[in-house]
Amino acid sequence: MIFGDNVDVNMIAVALAFAIPAAAAAIGQGKAISAAWDGMARQPEVSDSIGGKLIIALAFPEALGIFGLLLAILLMGKIS
């Protein structure tokens, strides 16, 4: 066993349960941030308004990533 004798292979599922939502959330947040900063560079005078709304918009992908983290922690509690 590559992970040592004591470790369950189910831990891979735990790692993926965190990693896949985190990667997807990162892609989504990257798109949002990129678009918002493009807009800010074009029109610096509305950057305050865009920045505030960006934080709200970032909360939604963030929540999905966090659900993955919670799932991973719960799974880890089940396995170990």
Partner: protein, 318 residues
């Protein structure tokens, strides 16, 4: 913050009490019996052999002599007539709310034209929060319902940052606290919407605002959109609760893992370095952002129910 200490030897469980004479060999298995998710990750790392030799990671809330007796039950919770509650989180919440109530009561007690120190801080706080959240919910909603929104922001921010102080726990790292906040927030937005716009406008809004003669659009709205919107209210509660809980709890766990890993390093090189400091700063940043997000979302929900009423009023004025 999840607290723990590194001990050379763990108190063996009841089942191991008989063969305690060879405790050094056997007691390593005993901490697998703890099934609370708080301990899972820490035990996992210890189990892998990360951490000092023979060290056992466990929470020490129940072992602090200076804590009051009803605070000593951490983890699974203590049973009350209303069910099991986590007394650690409840006690921390009471401390924080007591401090905040005392502070703001003192700030608003003697309102003078030339403000004192606490009144100045309170006025600055209220004014800057009103300006900040007006960008999300509109100035009308934020000024009118600042009692709810400002209390949400102040309370959640303090609760989030409370766990950074050594010796205390963030009550928002418990799903019960955040679920209570979320349920109250969504129900308040519904009640405010009923008060401001009325049930008819809300139903009309949820049906996709069909034109008066359009029966097809009305039927589709009633059959498809209305159930979706009603389900969305529950989804709002769950997502508000899980977002806050997950961020704070996840931050605590990451912090705990870093401390465990770095404690190993500190034991090896005999120099205790606070290398988890960047993670603490990140946790503080996340705490502030999550408080902002929660409050802004509640204000957006409220203004979503009020906007219809306001547009119409505006039209009438014009």
């Amino acid at each position: 913050m999840i607290f723990f200490e590194l001990k050379p030897e763990e108190k063996s469980h009841d089942s191991h009490a008989e063969n305690s004479h060879d405790a050094h060999g056997d007691s390593h298995d005993s901490h697998h019996g703890c099934e609370h998710p708080d301990y899972a990750l820490l035990n996992f790392f210890n189990w892998k052999g990360i951490g000092p030799e023979g060290g056992t990671v466990h929470t020490y809330v129940e072992e602090q002599p200076w804590m009051p007796s009803f605070w000593k039950c951490s983890g699974p919770g203590s049973s009350t007539p209303m069910g099991e509650i986590n007394m650690t989180m409840a006690f921390n919440t009471f401390i924080v709310s007591g401090i905040l109530i005392a502070l703001f009561k003192k700030g608003g007690q003697k309102i003078s034209f030339i403000p004192g120190k606490i009144q100045l801080i309170a006025e600055f706080w209220v004014e800057s929060l009103t300006d900040f959240f007006s960008a999300f919910g509109g100035e009308y909603v934020v000024r009118k319902y600042f009692g709810l929104l400002g209390a949400y922001f102040t309370f959640i921010l303090t609760l989030n940052l409370w766990g950074v102080i050594p010796g205390f726990h963030s009550p928002t790292a418990d799903i019960n606290t955040t679920l209570a906040f979320a349920v109250v927030g969504v129900i308040c937005s519904l009640v405010i919407g009923l008060k401001e716009s009325g049930l008819k406008h809300i139903i009309h809004h949820w049906m996709g605002e069909p034109k008066p003669g359009d029966n097809l659009a009305k039927a589709i709205g009633a059959m498809l959109l209305l159930p979706l919107e009603i389900t969305a209210q529950f989804a709002r509660m769950v997502s508000l609760a899980l977002r806050l809980y997950g961020n704070i709890y996840g931050g605590d766990v990451v912090l705990a893992v870093f401390v465990v890993l770095l404690a190993d390093l500190a034991v090896k090189i005999w120099i205790p370095l606070p290398l988890q400091l960047p993670v603490v700063l990140l946790h503080i940043l996340a705490s502030v952002i999550q408080a902002i997000v929660f409050t802004a979302l509640v204000s957006v929900y409220i203004s979503g129910f009020c906007s219809h009423h306001h547009d119409e009023e505006h039209d009438h004025d014009n």
